[in-house]
């Protein structure tokens, strides 16, 4: 069933003019199927609610670009992925490495955040919707001792959510919402006027302590439960909650993700934060348990 959606994404790519000229012109491109990625466990409950109760630091990043690339799942293979919307690092493409990201620039308000963030493109019919922005919330996992949280190692890659899902995913990992509101749904709800549709993806918050990546891209990281990391994943890391905002209100009939349907929400992260800065934010904000910033009330009114 998913095949139909890849085809749709390819058509969209052609019409959207977002094929990448580094992709080798006429050479045949093997399209990678959406990867079935789910890390061990899931958060104890969906993370939502007013800011200010839990220590955090926040980065807002403008939309950068779209490309059918995925440097984690299909490195070096231009055009081999479904269409992704990229945020943060402005150079992200199929060839991206941590070093190349560090040589790039960022769309984020936190200039030391050169990380690459991406999510499947959201389409309405054949139209690729241009996201409004992304917001990355970095917090301790639920009930995890904030002082135990360690900075991400340089070059850590993570995928959250399942790009091949055919059933609803846990709301604690992948959810849709309206504006900054608390309600969560497995498929896009009809949002009222001025309440932008958001895709909210929550990443694992425990690391095995050794591997920046793994063959499945999932087995080196896991979710905590009850405030503890599972066996084999001894290092608590910040829980990244990544939200993409789209200029969508009202009917959701024609919407679909480039990864297929509306249940395949996921997001990817390559850590190219300036290491000193990431360490500072973890120590100063999370360890000291203060709110270092808030996604502003700009969407309220």
């Amino acid at each position: 069933m998913s095949t139909r959606w890849w085809a749709a994404a390819c058509v969209v790519l052609a019409t959207a003019g977002c094929t990448n000229d580094k992709g080798g012109g006429e050479q045949a491109i093997v399209l990678h199927p959406p990867t079935d990625v789910t890390s061990l466990g899931q958060p104890d409950h969906p993370i939502a609610g007013p800011q200010g109760a839990v220590p955090q630091f926040v980065v807002e990043c403008a939309y950068s670009h779209a490309a059918p690339d995925d440097p984690i799942v299909a490195p070096g293979e231009f055009g081999a992925a479904h269409l992704h919307a990229f945020f943060g690092n402005t150079t992200t493409d199929a060839n991206s490495t941590i070093d190349s990201l560090f040589a790039g620039d960022t769309t984020c308000d936190q200039r030391a955040d050169l990380a690459a963030y991406w999510a499947p493109a959201l389409l309405r019919g054949a139209e690729v919707l241009r996201p409004v922005k992304s917001t990355a919330y970095y917090r301790p996992g639920i009930d995890v001792d904030p002082k135990s949280v360690q900075p991400y190692p340089k070059g850590l890659v993570m995928i959250a959510g399942n790009a091949a899902a055919e059933e609803p995913q846990p709301l604690s990992i992948v959810a849709w919402g309206c504006g900054t509101g608390i309600a969560r749904a497995v498929e896009p709800p009809e949002c009222a006027q001025d309440r932008n549709l958001r895709l909210i993806v929550t990443f694992p918050d425990c690391w095995d302590g050794d591997n920046l990546d793994s063959p499945s891209h999932k087995s080196h990281i896991a979710y905590s439960s009850g405030g503890d990391c599972p066996e084999g994943y001894p290092v608590p890391i910040p829980q990244l909650q990544f939200s993409v905002e789209y200029p969508v209100w009202g009917a959701t009939d024609d919407l679909m993700l480039s990864s297929g349907g509306l249940l395949t929400g996921h997001a990817d992260f390559m850590n190219a934060w300036t290491p000193e800065r990431m360490q500072m934010e973890v120590e100063l904000c999370l360890h000291r348990e203060v709110v270092c910033g808030i996604a502003s009330g700009r969407t309220s009114g």
Binding site: G52, R111, C285, G297
Partner: protein, 476 residues
């Protein structure tokens, strides 16, 4: 009496002080009585600190750049109670402060400049450290905030200038017991000054000039012994705006007291601004869904839309249910422990129990305005008395809603009847903050005796305020 001691002795005292577990300021340290130390009258090496004793205790003065090349290095070396004294110069730093009771002071407000270069996030960020005072300096071109305290008990900012800042000029979030005075704040798209998420805040804001910002003052969910007095709010999109919202904790906004302010010409159309300020463009004092606020003895003129505007605040995407009246007394520390309820419909925050008394208004689009969307305005407990004004909406507002006795009259006569449209109205985005037109930065008053005054950590704030003595300001 001044006493100069060697760095070794100073460091020993500092350690003693750090171990003394005394929150009141270095009481654990005892000044040396070793007369020999006074012979070292000329510290020459970069790791030499000058320690001074007074009846209040013991501290070191750490000079930038003489003793330490950067502000951060001095702050990192400082012990609670110390004075970091910064010489004129431009400092491209984002300073992090985690040590209690520091006083960080510039020797010249106009020439000690922290420059974020449109790259760095905050000029000085105080993270959970109690009692940190920042004095007599300027922050420009920061992506985030100029001077930012978060999660602290005890803060003070005095004689500070912020200019062209991405979020807030001066910002105290989730912080209590504070004092701000002699601030000049210009060119922030959110607001010049923001105090957010505190109840009771127990803070005083006085002698501030805030102009060419989105909002002059923003105070989401801030109140309880919070006083904005004797300040100037002009040429912003809107002058002063406390508001309620569940996007941050400790709602609703309650009990801010706004007295003796000059609030005029908040009609800027080209200042950098976020949406919620642009929506209130042309208004002086806006109470946006607040409760129990007091607006008294202010001079409010020349604001194109409304002078003093009690208006609902529309929150499209709430994170919780609106608290009931019985819950309005909940202090912030307790509210943090509560689990929010799921709520997906917008909240219209109304204004309750707010007193508008003894203000002078002129030349505003409408001088006094009380607006609601659904609620009967006669039931909300707001009152108006002894104001000098020409126009109101609804008309005869002091007869409808007097502060003593029972009101009477027709609430529909002259009322604003398109309030929901106003709250939803489509707006044109403001210019980018980095490049928005701003008048050149003018020299601002220096603090007295910056070179010689002892440190004054924010352990005695807010300073006493004689509210009754404040008079309506005169026009400049």
């Amino acid at each position: 009496m001044r006493r100069v001691v060697s760095a070794v002795v100073a460091a020993a005292f500092a350690l003693l002080a750090a171990c003394s577990d005394d929150d009141e300021g270095g009481g654990g340290a005892t000044p040396t009585t070793d007369g020999a130390a006074t012979t070292e009258s000329t510290p020459t090496t970069s790791d030499t600190s000058v320690s001074t004793s007074t009846a209040d205790g013991e501290w070191a003065t750490l000079r930038v750049p003489d003793d330490h090349p950067t502000i951060q290095a001095a702050v990192d070396a400082a012990q609670p109670g110390d004075l970091v004294l910064i010489a004129p110069g431009t400092y491209r730093e984002a300073v992090q402060v985690t040590t209690d009771r520091l006083t960080i002071r510039g020797l010249d407000r106009n020439e000690v400049i922290l420059d974020g270069d449109f790259e760095l996030d905050n000029g000085i960020r105080v993270l959970g450290a109690k009692g940190v005072a920042i004095e007599n300096m300027t922050a420009v071109n920061y992506v985030g905030n100029g001077f930012f305290w978060t999660g602290v008990d005890g803060y003070r900012g005095s004689y500070l200038t912020t200019y062209r800042i991405g979020d807030y000029g001066v910002y105290a979030f989730d912080s209590i017991n504070g004092h701000f005075d002699h601030l000049y704040l210009a060119g922030s798209p959110e607001s010049g000054l923001y105090i957010g998420e505190c109840y009771p805040c127990n803070a005083v804001v006085t002698d501030v000039v805030s102009e060419y910002n989105g909002l002059g003052f923003s105070g989401t969910n801030a109140g309880g012994e919070l006083y904005l007095v004797n300040s100037v709010w002009r040429h912003n999109r809107a002058g002063i705006m406390p508001n309620s919202g569940t996007y941050e904790l400790c709602y609703p906004q309650r009990e801010v007291t706004i007295v003796g302010n000059l609030v005029y010409d908040n009609n800027a159309t080209e200042s950098p601004s976020v949406r919620m300020a642009i929506r209130r463009q042309g208004t002086g004092i806006v109470i946006a869904g607040g409760t129990g606020d007091v607006v008294e003895r202010n001079l409010v003129y020349g604001n194109d839309r409304y002078g003093i505007f009690l208006t609902p605040f529309l929150e499209l995407s709430p994170n919780d249910e609106e608290p009931t009246r019985q819950e309005w007394g909940t202090i912030c520390a307790d509210a943090k422990l509560e689990t929010p309820a799921e709520r997906d419909d917008p909240i219209v925050w109304d204004v309750y129990d707010t007193r508008v008394v003894g203000n002078e208004l002129a030349d505003n689009g409408v001088d006094l305005v009380l607006a609601t969307v659904d609620e009967d305005p006669a039931t909300l407990g707001n009152c108006f008395a002894d104001n000098i004004f020409a126009t109101s909406a609804p008309r005869r507002i002091e007869t409808l809603a007097p502060c003593t006795g029972t009101g009477s009259g027709d609430w529909t006569a002259g009322a604003i009847d398109d309030m929901l449209d106003q709250l939803y109205r489509q707006i044109k985005p403001g210019p980018e903050w980095q490049t928005a037109p701003l008048p050149p930065l003018q020299p601002q008053d220096d603090m007295p005796d910056a070179a010689t005054a002892p440190p004054r950590p924010a352990t005695d704030v807010p300073f006493a305020l004689d509210l009754a003595a404040i008079k309506v300001p005169t026009r400049p």
